[in-house]
Symmetry: C2
């Protein structure tokens, strides 16, 4: 069989490359090998699925074209996947743009943001240029969103309120029980709830479920998902929101025109519902977590329960010293997340990468640094 025909004419036409047998594409490759261990940004170290990689190469044939048609395809695919109307799907340049759009939707006089502390910082940051009142509510002692206090903070507002609930929470990796979140949502028709489920696929806890049914039944609930985590496409920037059509349109009004790039679109389209890649990513993550837990426990470094692809753990002294020393050892770990300056957020790489991390951590212990 001629190799050129094996991978399909579109690929060959796109880049003029002859293909190898498909099997060589089927297991994701390790990324850039510059010796640096990248455990700082909650990326999926396995990378994109083989189908996503091939979609990118095929996508070269469209790299000079605007992407509205392909975007409509992906919207349809996601609507089908989630069993929601197409008009319920808002695509964004990563979920980052979705969070920005939702924040801007409440950017009017008297508007207020209510967020946990610490949580993913973007929504809080997006509020800054608009002069929104921004309320940070500390996590509970078990590192859950303090729903009672957040609800109080939302209630006292005079203008529109956006409550950001990152569940599981970044940077702590912890859960807020779905019963608690839903209890608030069911009693509050005026707050716009932005429920960030970036790490949804990693959770294996019966007390956790998606807020999607509430987003479909209530006009003030938006669920946010991303292809950056378990799908391994962080660099391709594709996230989305699910909400009732009118709410979706209200948010979409703040999107940049032509905000979707062809490679993110085609890679996402090739990834939706790829159970094999999801299983492989989950399995790798669970092995990596086990390796990491063993090392942390061995050294007595307390850790929060991780429901994600990262874990927050204790470091003695100032976390900034720890981060700097890790960088000097070619290991990128998470940035500081005040007020938790005695903890570090560590992303799970592949199991072998976490073995290398564990070795570095043991060296730190020998040096008296942890």
């Amino acid at each position: 069989m001629e190799r050129r025909s094996f991978l399909g004419a579109s690929l060959a036409a796109a880049v003029g490359l002859a293909g190898r047998p498909l099997e060589t594409l089927s297991s994701p490759r390790p990324v850039r090998d510059d010796g640096i261990l990248r455990l700082g940004s909650n990326e999926n170290s396995l990378g994109p699925s083989s189908a996503a990689r091939r979609a990118v190469i095929d996508g070269l044939a469209e790299a000079n074209r605007y992407t509205h048609r392909v975007a409509a395809d992906l919207r349809g695919r996601l609507a089908e996947h989630h069993g929601v109307p197409e008009r319920s799907v808002v695509l964004g340049n990563g979920s980052a743009e979705i969070l920005q759009m939702a924040t801007q939707a409440v950017a009017s006089p008297g508007g207020r943001l209510v967020v946990a502390d610490p949580t993913f910082e973007q929504v809080y940051g997006y509020g800054e240029p608009w002069g929104l009142e921004r309320v940070k509510v500390p996590l509970t002692s078990s590192y859950a969103h303090d729903i009672g206090r957040m609800r109080d903070a939302a209630r006292r507002a005079g203008g529109p309120v956006l409550a950001y609930i990152c569940n599981p929470n970044n940077p702590t990796g912890t859960l807020t029980l779905s019963d608690e979140v839903e209890g608030w949502i069911r009693e509050d028709e005026s707050t716009l709830f932005l429920v960030d489920e970036a790490y949804f696929e990693y959770v294996r806890d019966a007390r956790y479920r998606s807020a999607l049914p509430l987003a479909m039944s209530r006009p003030n609930v938006v669920v946010v998902r991303t292809f950056s985590k378990i799908y391994g496409l962080a660099g391709l920037r594709l996230g989305y929101a699910l909400a009732q059509p009118e709410t979706a349109a209200r948010i979409d009004a703040y999107a940049a025109d032509s905000n979707l790039n062809i490679m993110g679109l085609v890679a996402a389209r090739a990834s939706v519902g790829d159970e094999a890649h999801l299983s492989r990513s989950l399995r790798s993550n669970e092995e990596a977590r086990a390796v990491t837990y063993a090392a942390l426990d061995e050294l007595g470094l307390e850790r929060l329960p991780s429901h994600t692809n990262f874990v927050m753990h204790r470091v003695p002294g100032d976390v900034r010293d720890y981060i700097r020393r890790m960088a000097e050892h070619q290991v990128q770990v998470g940035r500081p997340f005040p007020p938790m300056t005695g903890h570090n957020r560590l992303s799970f790489g592949r199991p072998a990468e976490m073995e290398r991390f564990a070795e570095t951590l043991r060296e730190f212990r020998r040096n008296g640094w942890v």
Copy 2:
């Protein structure tokens, strides 16, 4: 020589594909061959350069990583290319996001947008959710920006004013003389000037020059460029602004976090200053323009002087009928641009594509449609 090593280990590692000799990559491929002639969106029908294509394939090794480091690289490369400080470069998810960011920078009570009519619609659209006062000033009889009337419209405002100058103008393809634009800018220190030079590289007219020197010498001037047009990367979404560092920061405050995708970044980095690709694109565009002009002249369809990769020309009757009929003949032409409903905007494809367009147009004449 082993072919795998020929294209470099990074490519092979990224996708597991063996390479063909570089020569087969050196001439851009025709895009998607579904029989539809795409002359509606001012894309570069030649597609990305061979270097950009290879950069995308190499970029697969980073597809699961956030892009801050690569973004810093491109910012540095562009600063060097334009001879400006790095902090003068703002990168955007296409120039579309840059235009949105600049619009939001004046989104405060009493803020006003002053735009030509017709011009590229995005800035006007971005003003809508913020309640900005939006003033459209008709083009002059020679389809230039009416600088005198735009200046008057800017002068009467009580809040911040953004004046959008698309030069050459989209959808008309016409120039506004640089002397006129600069005359206004030199006398107006309060208006924020957003000078969109998306089609800069196509212009061959001594009366036209970039507003970049003014953007470097004045805090209220922003020049916008894109990789979507002559570089052929519209689907990869990479645009940028050049302004004084403080102005750049003022605009960048409205960017989405992680707004840059890896493929747009690496393709742009591989494209900056690729004179061979620029020459090839220019030459193709000029041949395509000649073919198109000949056909329009032959049929007596009046046209505006094109300084871009498209031309605005007369069509009898309502342009919407013309657009529909062209679509039925597998030709996408430009959308309606009110108030110029007796014109159509036609993008230049490759010369051979314009020959096919010319044939379709002659068929329209035989049918009595043009």
